[in-house]
């Protein structure tokens, strides 16, 4: 019985080309999610980030319907949603109902588009729950380019973005263009969501973008260190998920999310014991 559960050829699976693509994609996602997760929490935009993934859903299924790449539709819809949310301002607490309503509508629309074609219907599960093992070499190259742009942009706006995350009013009084900061943040967020969705899907994205950053925040206080630790936790979750899912018959998305949640629970427990 145990032999059937445990795959003794797991090392061969790990050496396969699709696994190498998945590992590289995981690295790119970890870099992007690690850097942006910190700001997502600092700006109280975790719900908005979660919603963006869902707003991207009809874009993804719609793209399949039109014969376009999934990430193009996903990215366009997420970016559109991001710019609208960003333009409305940072007061996330006042936007919860509007965001949630749009989230629900977008998910429904995504389902509608998916039902209009059989190919979209087939891809629906991959979009919702991710399929990191099907990531292509072309996608990985796209991820690397995105990461490079993200890191350069973030380096340029790092301090004003952090200042406006800490206290928008003070930053505004001192001359930080907070509207632009908001739009830029949300636009980058849309990009991060778009590249993270192939790994865990729209439904589980929270565990990859927000949870590692929350774990890092428990462990370290400096923003840069938190981003680094968050990226490492994200990477450990994805790579660990890939390795474990090669050994036992479990979908990678499930193992990735489980590991991410486990790290968070451990950090929480550690903090509680220390207090």
């Amino acid at each position: 019985m145990t032999t059937s559960v445990f795959d003794s050829h797991w090392t061969e699976i790990l050496a396969a080309p699709f696994m190498r693509n998945a590992m590289l994609a995981g690295l790119c996602i970890a870099v992007a999610a690690g850097a942006m997760g910190y700001f997502t929490i600092a700006r109280h935009s975790t719900f908005a980030a979660h919603a963006l993934a869902h707003i991207g859903l009809p874009g993804a299924t719609g793209a399949v319907l039109l014969g376009l790449p999934v990430s193009v539709g996903m990215g366009l819809f997420a970016l559109g949603g991001a710019l609208v949310i960003g333009a409305l301002g940072k007061r996330a607490s006042q936007r919860e109902i509007a965001t949630g309503t749009v989230l629900a509508f977008a998910t429904g629309l995504g389902l509608f588009f998916a039902r209009m074609s059989s190919s979209a219907s087939q891809q629906m599960q991959a979009i919702l729950f991710g399929s990191i093992l099907t990531i292509t070499r072309g996608q990985v190259i796209g991820f690397i380019i995105f990461d490079a742009i993200l890191l350069i942009l973030l380096a340029l706006i790092y301090r004003p973005l952090l200042f406006s995350s800490l206290d928008e009013q003070v930053a505004q009084a001192r001359g930080v263009p907070i509207g632009l900061m908001n739009l830029t943040f949300m636009a980058i967020m849309a990009g991060v969501i778009t590249i993270a969705v192939p790994a865990v899907g729209t439904l589980l994205i929270f565990a990859l973008v927000v949870t590692p950053a929350a774990t890092a925040n428990i462990l370290v206080a400096s923003p840069l260190r938190a981003m680094l630790v968050s990226g490492l936790i994200c990477l450990a979750s994805i790579w660990g998920g890939l390795v474990i899912s090669a050994m036992v018959p479990a979908p990678p998305s499930f193992v990735i999310v489980t590991l991410s949640t486990l790290f968070w629970a451990l950090a929480k427990g550690w903090a509680a014991l220390r207090a």
């Binding site: 340029l156 706006i157 790092y158 301090r159 952090l162 930053a171 001192r174 001359g175 206080a221 923003p223």
Partner: protein
Amino acid sequence: MVTDTDRTSTQACIVFDHAAIRRSGRLIWSEGTFAIPSGTVTAIVGTNGTGKTSMMQAELGLLPLDAGSLQVLGQPAGQANDRIGYVPQSYTSDIDSNLTAEQSVLLGLTGTRFGIHPVTRQDRERTRKAMRFVGVEDRAHLRLSQLSGGLRQRVAIAQALVCDPDLLMLDEPLANLDLAGQRATVHLLAQLNSRLGMTIQVVAHDLNMLLPVLTGAVYLLDGHPHYARMDDVLDSDLLTHLYGTKVEVVTTPQGDMFVAPDMDEPIGPVHNRYQPSQVARLHETDKERTS
């Protein structure tokens, strides 16, 4: 009394000229014509919704005037903001911020810099100096979320001080603080004014705590702001009228404020209570005086 003559010139720090503020179509206040001198400690007082915070936002150039003009530190409002330290009330809202006190204060210096700028030794020294002045140096490495409301406010003040402003503006600095915290904050403001010659403006609804340090007040009454020096106008009467409820105020002779060993114990209190008819008369005489 120790004053910094460089900063406390006779030049006016804030000049309102027939200024009016409108918010979503509603006139908040109008006909604001007065000048607040440099080196003073001024309170903006008035009941809720009379436009105290709006006044501060107008001075920062964040809220455009509906009419008139407003000069701050010799320039149109909003142009000299790099010489203004601003502490909003919202320092209490972001209680789960993960930044340390030191990082937060440092942002007051570096937070407006786009591009890649490593933090210099000079930046760190200035940050440490600001934290030492407000007395949170020993909490530098604690996270904001680990600090009490009073300490978080001190960090916010240090963040405003770190760029060495000429004017410090605080929105309701005494709200949400216990008595000891209020006293400590008032003491700190007195120090900033007397030792550094900083001009200070405070939005407040409870004046009593601030009385020992105040040199004047802008009061928002009947939709028009008026400025008056404290020794002229400490009309407890006026305040009674202002708040629509009986207010007991202590008149402190100006000049005793900084020399008093314990500024929390005002010298020679004089309790005044006026009738509404008298208030109206005093209000009129004050109008004549300021115009």
